[in-house]
Symmetry: C2
Subunit: 222 residues, 2 copies
């Protein structure tokens, strides 16, 4: 049975990604990356709940405090305000954490090489996304080439992005069909008790559930 | 004046790399990455001494404790013994820290994007090296392609590896000609007071100085 590392933030996309890897029969190892985002405490709870749900025994939680020190994003620098959602804006938003995904995948590859994982699953979404450059499949293709160059010759690691071309409503439907624990997830960029409803992430989630014709279970619980 | 981030461990190669960037007229920013290597305390002192030598004001020191948690190398896992030097062995040595350089350069790129640095200098050596896959120019070429894919469209960052095709004696001669503070550097993988003389890094350094016909100033001080 092949081993896969899943990057699990605790959000909707990573939860459905974990469900996809589980459904494909992989032996799961979960990696959580805390980069000082505002809602980290709530996200970590979501992560732990999803670990328990899938009874995952190989777990690594990494604090990347340098992304806070470096700043440059409203997610990591509390001096930068989280803007109201504007899903029609095609610019790269201020929530973009510079080169964040490269930092995360590098950790995952280091871990994969040591524990012998052959696949890394990431819930990145290119369509219907917030416009982050490091969420495009071209980025992951370039990263796979980097892995070939930068690891032992016998190491083979594929980057799986099962959601990359789905929109939020398709992700939600996929999650429901895979019995993913969507009720355990957290998406809001700003609040930790009740989703603010105003940030990009809340807006994307709300639009996705509406389009899918499904009631968001975390609102149902609220 | 263009700004360059220099990865400065405190060793010989990064010191000569800093001297090269300084000589080329870049505005210097120094990045030190502590990945839990055995001799970190001594390396950090070397780093600080080199910061002072070049009067660098933009400095970032990052603790990447996950590379210790992940382990898999004699540099980060104290349960794995540092072997005696064997410079004729063509296998990848146990001192290889899995995908370490990708972790480091990812941090550097995040920082570069925020502070507006156009170049990142790394003292990687392909020839006469310890056989690390992530020290080859092919790896850095692949990383430059990754940067293009994973950062803002207006971001342009080049990875400079001025030592990549030099052997240790050529690096030492280059350092002397650039008046690099070689007396402030530290190379030993194992000891923090007097170099052990037995590890790969000590052996490479000793062979380099001997071939260059120069007395190692840190032995002169000892």
């Amino acid at each position: 049975m092949n081993k896969a590392i899943i990057l699990v933030s605790g959000g909707l996309d990573s939860c459905v990604t974990a469900a996809t890897a589980h459904d494909a029969g992989f032996n799961l190892a979960f990696l959580h990356l805390d980069y000082g985002q505002r809602t980290e405490v709530r996200e970590l709870k979501a992560f732990t709940d999803i670990v328990d749900f899938y009874s995952v025994s190989e777990v690594l939680s990494v604090r990347m405090s340098h992304l806070v020190e470096i700043g440059g994003s409203c997610l990591t620098d509390t001096n930068i305000e989280v803007p109201k959602a504007n899903l029609d804006n095609s610019d790269i938003p201020i929530s973009y954490v510079p080169f964040r995904n490269a930092n995360m995948i590098s950790v995952a590859v280091s871990w994969a090489e040591v524990i012998g994982a052959s696949h890394i699953f990431i819930g990145a979404v290119e369509e219907d996304s917030s416009g982050y450059p490091d969420c495009r499949r071209d980025f992951f293709d370039a990263f796979e080439k980097l892995i070939i160059q930068g690891t032992r010759p016998e190491t083979s690691i594929k980057l799986e992005t099962p959601l990359i071309h789905l929109d939020k409503s398709q992700i939600i439907k996929k999650g429901v069909s895979l019995k993913a624990p969507l009720h355990l997830t957290w998406s809001c960029y700003q609040a930790e008790n009740i989703p603010c409803g105003d940030c990009d992430s809340c807006a994307l989630r709300a639009r996705g559930f509406e389009k899918a014709g499904i009631i968001d279970p975390i609102l149902d619980l609220a």
